[in-house]
């Protein structure tokens, strides 16, 4: 059966950042360099070919972009300056848009102005909502305890509601990812047992990103892990210990020390990444999509306002603390609402899933292929 080609695909991917893919002449240097490019997933060259040929459906079911951690070695060695690393990054953006059933992701990736507008809108709604709630239920001059402007209990309920909504949206997108990569293809059917057997991959890859560590350069992995763990720590603190976090003005060391560490991690990694993207010295920072900037700026804003409201509260300035808390929420809510299901942050789910699904795909391929296939054969003439 012939495969349908979409001649406009390459132009579409350009908006996601894949500007140099046409230069590729398929020497295979990138695939041979990449430490992750192993049977049966040889990338990035083959993915670049799918893109050049406009094989949209093939690309949609392609997990290889999620197996790439963008160490940049392929791009540095590429004899054509076709930027295979950045092409894989662009494909991840495009795949995020494909998995998203609402179509919002596509709009955001293709127009940063729209994304900024949406961010501002959600921020305004968040601000308005909390302002109305705070002024009707409490006083702007009280930070915690009875009559607080934004009492931990109320924010807590809101957090859980938002988490449920976002998890729901993301779950649907993940299901679509499964459908494109494993579900819809006859040849990719694997028994349920295989799904269970490999399930451990999900938490392992989510928490350690151990594959990233296999890149020859370790620093990007360390930075990324620090960012992820800081974020995770903060998430746990906010979702389960918000009450303790907000209580003051004394410092409750058991929770706050973790909060400090996490804040430090978030600010440091965000500043590091922003600096890297501005200097453009490292290959993986050479090209920046608008969504990369938006994500990093938001992250830094949220971390700094979070720290500031905490400090102001400890300094005995509840009014200022409350205002900054509001500003913090006006950053964190739009960031989570828009980034997690629809933009860059969705990779927190897609990446571990990519590892997991790729294992299943490999198993399906092995089951299909005749024995011994895929093994380099010792040649005797």
């Amino acid at each position: 059966m012939a495969v349908l080609s979409n001649p406009r695909l390459i132009g579409e991917l350009e908006k996601y950042g894949a500007e140099h893919v046409v230069k590729c002449y398929h020497c295979g240097n990138c695939s041979a360099t990449c430490p992750f490019s192993r049977e049966p997933f040889l990338f990035p060259r083959k993915s670049m070919r799918y893109l050049q040929m406009g094989l949209e459906e093939k690309l949609k079911g392609n997990l290889e972009p999620w197996l790439c951690y963008y160490c940049g070695e392929c791009s540095e060695q590429c004899p054509r300056e076709a930027e295979p690393g950045e092409t894989m990054m662009s494909m991840r953006r495009w795949l995020t848009a494909q998995y998203d059933f609402t179509g919002i992701s596509r709009l955001f990736y293709q127009s940063w102005q729209l994304e900024v507008l949406a961010l501002l809108l959600v921020a305004a709604l968040t601000g308005l909502g909390f302002w109305l709630y705070g002024t009707t239920h409490g006083s702007l001059a009280i930070y915690d305890g009875p009559g607080a402007f934004l009492p931990a209990s109320a924010v807590h309920v809101f957090d859980w509601a938002m988490a449920g909504l976002l998890a729901g949206l993301l779950a649907v997108n993940c299901a679509r990812m499964w459908w494109f990569t494993l579900g819809r293809e006859q040849g990719m059917r694997v028994p349920l047992g295989a799904y269970l057997r490999h399930l451990w991959l999900l938490p392992v890859h989510f928490l350690t990103q151990k594959r990233y560590r296999e890149c020859e350069r370790k620093r990007p992995w360390a930075i990324h892990l620090a960012l992820m763990l800081s974020y995770l720590t903060m998430l746990v603190l906010i979702m389960f210990f918000l009450e303790d976090m907000q209580r003051g003005p004394g410092i409750s060391w058991s929770v706050h020390v973790l909060g400090y560490l996490a804040s430090l991690g978030l600010v440091a990694t965000a500043v590091y990444a922003l600096r890297g993207r501005l200097l453009r010295r490292e290959t993986h920072y050479k090209y920046s999509h608008e969504t990369d900037w938006i994500f990093l700026i938001l992250l830094l804003y949220v971390a700094l306002t979070g720290v500031a409201q905490h400090v102001l509260h400890r300094l005995g300035l509840p009014l200022e603390a409350n205002l900054l808390y509001l500003a913090h929420l006006m950053g964190v809510v739009p960031m989570l609402v828009l980034e997690v299901p629809f933009s860059k942050w969705a990779h927190l789910a897609y990446r571990p899933l990519g590892m997991y699904f790729s294992c299943l795909q490999a198993e399906a391929l092995r089951a299909r292929a005749p024995a011994g296939a895929g093994q380099p054969v010792a040649h005797n003439v």
Binding site: C27, A32, Q77, P79, N380, V381
Partner: protein, 607 residues
Amino acid sequence: MSEPLRIGIYFCWKGTAPAECLNLSAVATYVAGLPGVCRVQDLGSRPNPDPHFWSQEIRRQRLNRLVLAGDSPGFFKPTFSTAMRQAGGDPTEVRLASFREHGATQGEGTERAKAVTACAVLGVPYGLAAVPQSTTVHPDTLVIGGGVAGIQVALEIADAGNKVILVERSGTIGGHMAMFDKTFPTLDCAACILTPKMVSVGQHENISLWTLAELESVGGRPGAWTVKIRRKARYVDIEACVSCHACEEVCPVQVDSEFDSGISKRKAVYLPFPQAVPNAYIIDAEHCTRLLSGGTKCGACLKKCLKEAIHFDEEDQLTELEVGNIVVATGYDVFDAGRMERYGYGILPNVLTALEFERLTNAAGPTGGRIVLKSLKLNKRSKQEEWVFDPEGESPGSVAIIHCVGSRDHNYNPYCSRVCCMYSLKFAHLVKEKLPEARVYEYYIDMRTFGKGYEQFFERIKDEGVFVVRGRSAKVGTQDGRMIIKGEDMLSDHMLEFPVDMVLLAVGMESAAGTGELAACLGIRRDEDGWFRELDYNIDPTGTERGGVYMAGACQGPKDIPDTVAQASAVAARVLRSIVSGCGRESRDTLPLAEIEARARALAGVS
């Protein structure tokens, strides 16, 4: 003509600004005085691309001919042709004055730009108007470079009865071809073809062969060049030396042999190879103990030479002579494989470049043509262990050949070196011929077997059982002391990883060292890749900007032997034409502007 011409001249630049050597206001003032010119304007870098805007301008000025002048005005032609059509004019009346194409961005930029623009204004092709004057030609010819190209040119001209001075930088003629083992695709012995020609050059009564010589300066005019040539001291009398080896045997200095591409040693007094022409020893001034010490130490060879051919007091000579034509045949250098660290050249002992393998497999090479691996041997002199080729060494069980090393790569040389695919296939054949049990892997990107009989040769290699892998190998790794070659075989969609004993790097060609100085000395141009630029790619690939200066072989661009020889013969024909007729042509850049304009006016029928 039905209506009088109203011409608009627009200067527009694809780059940022007009070249520095160009005085744009002088050009503008000059062309404004030409008949019919109503408007002269500098639009700067990348003008408004909207044809509608320009069609209004054309209507307003009532223009019926546009001249776009600039570095690459063809880039903007579509905009202005459309504008002309929209304005109701003739779109073919958009004329181009391309400064880059006609070399108006270098040297005498302003005068050339005036001439090029004037021709476009008058509607006459520049090439038709700027026909160089003819000059009388001195019958002697200077050939620079003694490789196969230079040899061919020299023999063709000398056989026709004219004097040739062949100048060669090294101590012998022969060039790279003399180092090769076999030629492709015929598998002829390269030395068997070349050495008789070399001997003919050495013995030809019409050829003065000057080795260890370099062009110092060029003066005069086309057809009557005065060239100054520096002949470096050889310290050995060519006439007296009988190549008896006595000096070599006692010489205590050992250095890498250039002719064997560094895989064997030679002495400081040496004969590059047994068939060298002239067949006389050379003393290497850079390594000879006596010369380095200022004549106080060593001198062992001096005592041994029965013919008294060695003269340490010899000095460089500067010779000035007059020639009519100059042929540049300076060839190429091979890409330095050490620049691509990932292939391990210089680190892993059995990673070889193409030239090293040519010498290894050659019957006159250090192993007598046996293909062996390097073995660790104690160097008695330095008391250190070294990797050397030992004729008794172990044969490789598997050989990988990596194509496109340094070629087709934007990090190194972007162009295709043309010969590497074919010589790599030749290597595969040579390995298979000598070691039928060995496994040979060719890692290629695209197989370029473009010449006569080349594709058949490729078929033959495949029949011989060579594994041809379509994919470039990214690096030469090591595992348990063996080299591992990993590459993606796109045709089978598998990542192949093979342990190999020997890796051959198909290094590409680069313009030879000193090309820039020679170009400056002769006043000829180079292209962006460093090769000499031909006057016209299609119809004058051997000519240069300067009259009476031609080029042959790989100095114009990567070329294999048949193409080089063909081009060399073509050059000889052009030189002979000028000698026989007694007149050649002047350089284009000496043509006075007034003359070009007068000719263009005459051709255009404008007074």
